[in-house]
Amino acid sequence: MILGPMFLMLAGLPLLGVVLSGQHLASYLEFPPTTQYVEHAPFSWGVFAIMLIGVVLVVLPFVAWDRLHAFLDDEAVPSINEFPWWGWAGFVFGIVAWALAWSRFEWCSDIQPHLFTPQWLSYIIVVNALTYRKTGQCMLTHRTGYFFALFLASALFWWFFEYLNRFVQNWYYDGVDNVSPSQYFWRATLPFSTVLPAVLGTYDLLAGGTRLFKGVEGFFPVRVRNPKYLAGGCLVLACIGLAGIGVWPDLLYPLLWIAPLLIITSIQAIGGQRTIFAPLKDGNWRRICLLALSALICGFFWEMWNSKSSAKWIYTVPFVNRFKIFEMPLLGYAGYLPFGLECAVIGDLVKGWTCKNPRIASSRARLAATAAVALVISAFIWLPFLHLCFKRDVSDYRSREGIAPKAGAIAAQQFHLWDEQGVRNLEVARMRVSNAEWDFMGRTFHVLALANMALREPGQRKLYLGIMDRIIDDTLRLERENGIYYFLMDYARDGQFVSSRARSLFQDGEIAMMLGCRRLIDEKASYREPFSFRIGVMKECMEESPVLTGESYPDECWMFCNTVALAAMRISDVLDNTNHEEFFQRWLSTARSNLIDPATGLLISSFSFNGHPFDGPEGSSIWMSAHCLQLVDPEFAAEQYRIARDLLGNSVLGFGFAREWPDSWKGPIDVDSGPVIPILQISPGSSGLAILGASAFGDDTYLSRLLTSLNFGGFPISTDGRLKFAASNQVGDAVLLYALVVGPLWKEIWNRA
């Protein structure tokens, strides 16, 4: 009954805190969790001293009282059984696993990252064997169902702490680069599953096989007159604390270990259930102390075995990150004390589940709980594998030479649209209802794709040139017949262009690009003059602006269009021996000074003719801009891609995607971004263009994940060897086609330059 609210609070509160503080959630839900975004406070002697004194003041009375008692009563617990054979087997197995894990033999380097789990399995077997020797029974032999259930619960339990760690980032894993989400999941889940059996097994051994902390069985009692009020107060404080860990990670990180314990026990107390603190009313502190000690003992082994593992965790704890014992800072070991109690709380819940009480067994609540746990475990099993249903070999989409099969199928669909006038008219009409620009941009990306395809398949050059000419002639005709507003959105008519030439760089740039690409593949005399005219007029417009940028719409400059214009100018330099190098240098210098978002280092997406920023860095703009800048300044372009990849690109469970806006900028959801999926901030527009970015910059890992998402959320439809994506439209498919064949054209330009 209490599991639902408990789960909601523990998982939801940190997210709620982050949402209320106005941060984006995507990075907190990243999987595998590899990005480091919390910058921690440096070491502080003051904080270290206060925390050390606090820990000593809490621990010392119990230890001192127990040692005094032990001085008076030093009777040892006799053994009942011999140490069993399976205990010896576990011991030998553990020694071998330990030796292999710490050795650096070449022949066992492949299995070394996987030896942490065998080491812990042997630890668990050995502590169970020691308990069996001392008490005549142990979890492994006498509560086997409970024992195995602990492994399952443990995997979930520690994944929860990994989730909380996303908000405070007190540790991260080294040596897990280039690991797929499913590999990461299993490589993490297996060792996570040993946590509870190890801690609770150690507790069993200490409780039954030693007289440790016997002295505190009659220590001071804690009697609370209104336990439910106290529990309510603790619950409220713990909830506030847990909600705040993502907002103030440096201040509240200790709550990662304390708040879950308080929330669970408070809910138990309010519900009238027995809590782990119940024996304290009689002054019996032994279980509490032994649990804390058990976790500390396990903590020692965790840190020791981790310290020389080939894949290991590293701590980044604020204020106290010094005096390390293995990888853990000295005061970090204090976290193990409440952790032991948390293990026991979960262990008690599991015990309740696995008990054979017929009343509970027959209840509907138990059935619902079974269903809930099964569904949660199944989700943990399935979700890391989901991407495999949609993952295809990248070479199916993009090949180094020639045209990959899927790219060919998308191209066939694009040709089909130009062959079948009726189908094309329908497709264009559908797009123009939402955005007239898409009709235009679909043409540009199609021509760019065809130019690359002509270089990839010289045998098909004539065919591709024919289609390019049809697209270009049709575009020029429409512009001539309908004027410059035909391919612009309606609001273009609402204002006056500031530039004296009163032209849209959006149209001039992309038309110049189409003409230039066509001429690069094969010179066409009739395109020379219109190309030169567009290049000249664009430069004039850009020179008029104080920040050297042309308007796409009246007093509205877009980075996307300006970088396309620059790329077209570079093509002009190659084709017509013009020289824009000095202009490029001035443009870059001005852009670095005026058009870079200071919070991210990315180029902003839109601004006035005078350079006043309208919108910050935008996903649906920056990927193409970085690609076009490859023709202007490859290093600057690569830097822009790298930053965009870090701040906008993301992967969850093997699916790649991109956001429209970085954390530092709150921008609108519009026709460019597409409908943004909340929480992860997935933008279809930005994700589609990110495929172009990843392809152009050779980011194969990200490309593979983006293509997996495309197969999943793009809803591909194959008909007669043609491929289109239902979630997309002609312009989206044209961008995708260009992304899958991009490369040879830019290479050709650099070769000729």
Binding site: T144, G145, F148, T354, K356, S362, L367, T370, A371, A374, L375, I377, S378, A379, I381, W382, L383, L386, C389, L426, A429, R430, M431, V433, S434, N435, V671, G674, P675, P684, F712, G713, F715, I717, A726, A727, S728, N729, G732
Partner: protein
Amino acid sequence: MESRLIKLFVVRAVAIVLIYALCDAIGWRDYASVISGTSPDPAGMTLTATLKAVIYILLFLATFIVVPILLISSALIFVWTMIRNRFAVLAGSTSTKSIRMAVTNENANHLRVSTR
């Protein structure tokens, strides 16, 4: 009880797959284009087109995310029930043995007392 749960999960999984397959067969996949702001209907973005898109996308997500989870859950519950029943049988036989031993001891004591 658990068998009812398994049946519940499997029946729902099969129902989701069948409805999804039906929607796919009648061409509702095309309506996913509303994601890109375009509608397959020449009339543009109508309420009907949007509803079809939402239903199709939810069914698609349910088929690929929820259905496998339901089926894996069914398998887990089945295995868990088998293990629990097995342990229940073992525990039952242990208890029977203990009772038998206790009775034997009691008889022996009774015999000892009688002999005295």
